[in-house]
């Protein structure tokens, strides 16, 4: 019971600090999970993070895994709910105001200003992700080939991902 309460407290606080998602609060998350609460070693934490990267879903999935390791299925549900709820409440409040003023000149100006910043930010996320996944030459080749297929063909994205995983398993890439 106290483990569930601790999970809720830790991830509830991280929720409102996680600008850009879990990656922004990863160092603080590791400090809480490893150093403060001694739920697992730093090595275990890194393994869970890599696993969460390979799974589908928002980049918050490492939180569900930590909750699961600490307190099983209830732990996963409590940790995920705690990290989602505060940010969701804030988004609900702010996006309502944002939509109500959709025709206001100030909102249009701000929206035009956010557009290039958003584009730059997504490019930066992609670059950082590529840097951490293109660990050797063959992985870098996968990045280049897959990017070309995603941009210039109409192939279903899951097909491209599955082909990459199969090539890796067969020893052709990765």
């Amino acid at each position: 019971m106290s483990a569930l309460a601790d999970l809720a407290a830790v991830f509830g606080q991280l929720s409102l600090l996680a600008f850009g998602g879990a990656n922004a609060v990863l160092p603080e998350m590791q400090r809480q999970v490893v150093d403060v609460h001694h739920w697992m070693s730093a090595r275990d934490f890194a393994a869970l993070f890599a696993l969460a990267q390979a799974a589908p879903g928002p980049n918050m999935m490492v939180v569900s895994l930590v909750g699961w390791r600490v307190a099983g299925i209830p732990g996963a549900l409590v940790a995920t709910g705690a990290v989602a709820a505060p940010a969701a409440l804030l988004t609900w409040l702010v996006s309502g105001v944002w939509y109500r003023f959709r025709d206001a000149p100030w909102r249009k100006a701000v929206q035009a200003g956010l557009q290039p910043v958003t584009a730059g930010l997504i490019m930066a996320s992609a670059a950082l992700l590529i840097r951490s996944t293109a660990v050797d030459l063959s992985a870098a080749v996968v990045v280049v080939v897959a990017a070309g297929l995603f941009i210039f063909t109409k192939l279903h994205p899951l097909l491209i991902l599955a082909a990459a995983a199969a090539a890796g398993a067969a020893g052709l890439a990765g």
Binding site: S15, L16, L17, A18, F19, G20, G21, A22, A24, A47, L51, Q53, A54, A55, P56, G57, P58, M61, S64, A76, L77, T80, A84, A87, L90, T91, W92, S95, W98, V110, Q111, A112, G113, L114, Q115, P116, V117, A119, G120, L121, I122, M123, A124, A126, A127, L129, T133, V135, A140, V143, A146, A147, F150, I151, P157, L161, A165, G168, A169, A173
Partner: protein, 181 residues
């Protein structure tokens, strides 16, 4: 909202984001944009980028915030809850299943190599998506310069987001307003 625009119900919101959650390898943003803009046309490309822009300035996962903003716009609080549950249900179940499998099979070389290649392809998918989101900037040198400055600040200088974003957003809004055409 125009009458030609689809008007998703609570179940549509759950179902749409459920698929996004299942597909979302390497991050859900590309899949969310594909579902919301290209397949179901709940938002125009410009509306999606606007909503995403707002959500990036709020704490929490960007797409988790998009589900809340989009769900509540169409169907209020029930819509927001349905969209968020739709997004999260499958990934939480899958990641726990992967945790169990990983504990058992992580040491097998083919499994490890498949994970490396899958992560690399997923990163490429995010890059392709960034390409699409940047498309409206073409032919606008000032907007491209602002996007480039954002990229440098976050990816190269590695400024903390909460520090860099307010300044970039204010500067961008002021510059584009001053030099609007």
């Amino acid at each position: 909202m125009s009458q030609t625009r689809p008007d998703p119900g609570v179940f549509d919101l759950f179902a749409g984001f459920f698929i996004v959650g299942i597909c979302g390898f390497g991050g859900v943003l590309p899949w969310a944009r594909r579902m919301i803009v290209e397949q179901r046309r709940w938002l125009t490309p410009a509306e999606f980028t606007g909503m995403l822009g707002l959500c990036q300035f709020l704490p929490g996962g960007n797409i988790m915030n998009v589900t809340v903003a989009l769900g509540s716009r169409f169907r209020g609080v029930p819509g927001a809850v349905a969209a968020l549950l739709g997004l999260m249900t499958a990934p939480v179940a899958i990641v726990i299943g992967l945790g169990v499998l990983y504990d058992r099979y992580a040491d097998l070389p083919p499994v490890r190599r498949a994970f490396v290649a899958l992560s690399a392809a997923a990163a490429a998918y995010l890059l392709a998506n960034a390409w699409k989101i940047a498309a409206p900037l073409r032919g606008r040198p000032l907007a491209i310069a602002i996007a480039a400055a954002t990229f440098v600040a976050i990816a190269i200088v590695r400024l903390p987001l909460q520090l860099a974003l307010p300044g970039l957003a204010l500067a961008s809004t002021a510059l584009l307003w001053r030099f609007r055409t």
